[in-house]
């Protein structure tokens, strides 16, 4: 059944390009990571500049490492392995190039906009709508190129890795599109289409599956190619790989709600998420075991071969992370660990351990094979890198497990009188030393990364490049006998003859189906307030909220009080779904580096906030010798004028989304805004007069800080109006 032998060549240049991009963005992403880690120990490292504060750099770090570092690495590995698995050159060189340069352009745009505070406020989906569209287009180019290669393949069997790549492409495309529905105010600003609880659910359905289909499935695919190659052993059980692929795919999509346990999301949805999360252990561990056992019989080589070492640690980290994940989904565990530093620890086992170490191993194996002499520059350096990276990862995560446990316990500690034992700032002071250990761990990992870059560049630079690798394989002849056996249906025949047309049409079907399903939400105003006293934000508060999003306050502050006595005692009445119906986007946050702000309104006076935002430690000066707050200072909010030129557009955008501002209110919005601002400014002037920090109301009334204070003072207050009435 095999056809004529055909000669062709593999495109190595594209893998090499993605490889260089990985090195560059990896260094940038990790460097920013180390900086923000140190910022939590030494807040002065925020430099009192907008562009370098934690709230803006944290999204820059996550986007850079996930989409730039890991993304480029995935593409490098996929382009290398896909061609060889299918015995075919990539479908179209032009598409490969477009994919590469398009992706790099996206990264540059992303970095610039995040620096400038242009952000949607949704975690891991911070990029604004024009970039979202670019991402969708480039992703489709990648998919077309991949599927095109499958169509012209010379190997009938689709090796399991390819299924993982395919699942990655299809699912990420849909997740990205659904989560990115937003209404533009202008080129740089948009509001999420969904509000409050609904937005939260879409976001974490996306967020969870981004981990599943961007950080997991592509890497399992890569593992199934590169681990057997590096160990020179067939995969332990090919049958297991197939079973575990399908199980993983069918279970993963349902686990998203485990990010929203004890939130205002309906209970049954939470339970659904928990059940599927627990089930995930089986296929995840199936993959880990299969990977580790592939190295059976090669264990003696693990001692000297850094590549295999990296694989072993990567797979072990994968096993740990996928054990921990389902454990966190248990409500009792979640009640304790959620919002603490335990979560970053869990995440970094996955990223530093699984993704990072996989990338190192793959690149150490692949880079030499892109050259004539086929040898790694230095295995010794690779081993050094291995030990430094592993030590860095361990320091990082142990410190954060420690910090998370300590803070989690302290938050819940009662004293003998039945009152909370610790103020929030005490719990910060207690764990700050661990932040230093974490930063040192990160620095080590970064150091290892520089060794990695050096080694790879030396490998590539010291030998002649092989951009076109000659290969030959018999052409693929479809076996007709097989076809007629299957079924008599014409439809099936077509599918079989053009197996990959199936992929294409199914994807189209999904998109059409998605659109049809989405249309009703766009047409119907579904934001019926369930709590009568919950009102839309005033224009000033809305502008303040946008500043909150711009500065990324939600990377340190949650706005969601869970129904535990320890939380209601500390923060006030627990959060209700009906309170968030005008929140486009939702700002619940996922980490409490600072206290929850859901009921901040009215807790402090305007002047307190004014002083605190200007220099957070100003409010602790009297009580502490060492300034304990690790919140960045925001001096520019006090000097910069609030831009109200977009306020009417924002009101209109909100109206489109169903927020009930009166017809034609956009025309009055700026007037109302200025009136409310003048009130707050006067109040601050009075409160601060004679304290030595005097301000003049007229000078501060049109500053950004006033809008932010208006927003903070509004938070969580609507519901108490209800009880007063």
């Amino acid at each position: 059944m095999s056809g004529q032998i055909e000669k062709f060549s593999y495109d190595n240049r594209i893998s090499r390009m993605f490889l260089y991009a990985t090195l560059l963005w990896g260094a940038v992403g990790l460097l920013v990571g180390v900086l923000i880690a140190f910022q939590l120990y030494i807040p002065a490292l925020n430099f009192d500049l907008p562009y370098t504060t934690f709230g803006r750099l944290r999204p820059l770090h996550t986007n850079a490492v996930i989409f730039a570092f890991v993304g480029n690495a995935i593409f490098a590995g996929v382009y290398y392995s896909l061609q060889r698995l299918l015995k075919a050159r990539m479908f179209n060189d032009m598409l490969s190039k477009l994919h590469f340069w398009g992706w790099q352009l996206i990264i540059v745009c992303a970095a610039l906009t995040l620096f400038l505070g242009i952000s949607t406020g949704k975690e891991y989906a911070e990029l604004e709508w024009p970039i979202d569209i670019m991402v969708a287009l480039v992703w489709v180019i990648f998919g077309v190129n991949m599927i095109g290669t499958m169509v012209k393949r010379r190997e009938k069997h689709l090796y399991v890795a390819i299924w993982f790549y395919l699942a990655t492409f299809v699912t990420v495309a849909i997740l990205h599109i659904v989560n990115s529905f937003e209404i533009p105010v202008n080129l740089f600003k948009s509001y999420s289409w969904y509000a409050g609880v609904q937005d939260a659910m879409v976001q974490w359905w996306y967020g969870h599956n981004a981990v599943a289909f961007f950080l997991t499935t592509p890497f399992l695919g890569l593992m199934y190619y590169f681990v057997p190659k590096a160990a020179n052993r067939p995969v332990y059980s090919y049958r297991l790989s197939i079973v575990h692929f399908w199980a993983l795919i069918f279970i993963y999509i349902w686990a998203g709600p485990h990010h929203l346990l004890y939130s205002a999301v309906p209970d049954w949805a939470q339970t659904l998420g928990v059940v599927f999360s627990l089930m995930l252990i089986a296929p995840s561990w199936g993959g880990m075991i299969n990977g580790l056992l592939t190295m059976r019989g090669a264990w003696d080589r693990v001692r000297n071969d850094a590549i295999l070492k990296f694989f072993v640690v990567a797979l072990t980290a994968y096993g740990m992370a996928t054990f921990e994940g389902p454990m966190h989904s248990l409500k009792t565990v979640n009640a304790f660990t959620h919002f603490t530093d335990w979560i970053p620890a869990h995440v970094h086992i996955g990223t530093l351990g699984w993704n990072g170490m996989m990338i190192f191993a793959i690149f150490y194996w692949m880079a030499p094979r892109l050259t004539k002499n086929g040898k790694l520059f230095s295995m010794k350096l690779a081993n050094t890198h291995f030990w430094i990276a592993t030590l860095g990862m361990i320091l990082w995560s142990v410190a954060m497990y420690w910090a998370g446990t300590a803070q989690g316990l302290m938050w819940k500690q009662w004293d003998a009188n039945g009152l909370l034992q610790h103020s929030f700032i005490d719990t910060v002071i207690a764990i700050v030393p661990m932040y230093l250990v974490r930063a040192i761990g990160g620095t080590l990992y970064l150091l290892g990364f520089f060794i990695f870059i050096y080694n790879i560049l030396k490998t590539l630079g010291s030998a002649q490049a092989v951009h076109e690798e000659e290969a030959e394989a018999p052409a693929l002849v479809l076996n007709n006998e097989n076809h007629s056996k299957l079924s008599g249906y014409l439809r099936h025949r077509i599918l079989e003859k053009k197996p990959l047309a199936l992929t294409f049409w199914a994807a189209v079907a999904i998109l059409v189906g998605t659109l049809i399903e989405m249309v009703p939400t766009f047409l119907v105003k579904s934001n019926v307030p369930t709590i009568a006293s919950v009102q839309p934000y005033t224009p000033l508060e809305l502008e303040g909220r946008d500043i909150y999003i711009r500065e990324g306050c939600n990377s340190c502050h949650s706005q969601l009080i869970r129904p535990f006595r320890t939380e209601t005692e500390r923060y006030g009445e627990y959060s209700k779904a009906g309170e968030f119906v005008y929140d486009h986007p939702f700002l619940w946050g996922s980490k409490r580096t600072g206290p929850d702000l859901a009921r901040e309104g009215g807790l402090r006076d305007d002047a307190w906030h004014f002083r605190h935002m200007k220099r957070p430690n100003s409010i602790y000066d009297d009580a502490y010798d060492n300034p304990p707050s690790i919140m960045p200072a925001y001096p520019w909010l006090i000097t910069d004028d609030l831009d109200v030129s977009n306020t009417p557009d924002k009101i209109r955008a909100m109206q489109t989304l169903g927020v009930p501002y009166a017809e034609g209110y956009d025309a009055n919005a700026v007037g109302d805004l200025q009136e409310q601002a003048a009130g707050i400014a006067n109040n601050i002037e009075q409160l601060l007069s004679g304290t030595g920090e005097d301000v003049v109301a007229d000078e501060i009334k049109n500053k950004e800080i006033i809008a932010l204070i208006a927003y903070l003072q509004r938070l969580g207050t609507d519901i108490s109006k209800d009880t007063n009435n």
Binding site: F250, A471, E472
Partner: protein
């Protein structure tokens, strides 16, 4: 809570897509042989190699 049903709907569509893909893969004999693919990937397709000519 309409969004829940929309998301479950979309998730179902994704699952359905993979179900179809799964049935296709089984029916077309992708999994008839669960050993040799794992060994085959270990060979390179260097010109003039005698391997892999079935």
């Amino acid at each position: 809570m309409k969004i829940i049903f929309i998301m479950i709907g979309i998730s179902f569509i994704i699952a359905l897509f993979f179900l179809v893909a799964f049935i296709w893969s089984v029916k077309t004999g992708q999994y008839d042989d669960t050993y040799s693919p794992s060994a085959r990937i270990l060979f390179d397709d260097k010109p003039n190699s005698t391997l892999d000519k079935n």
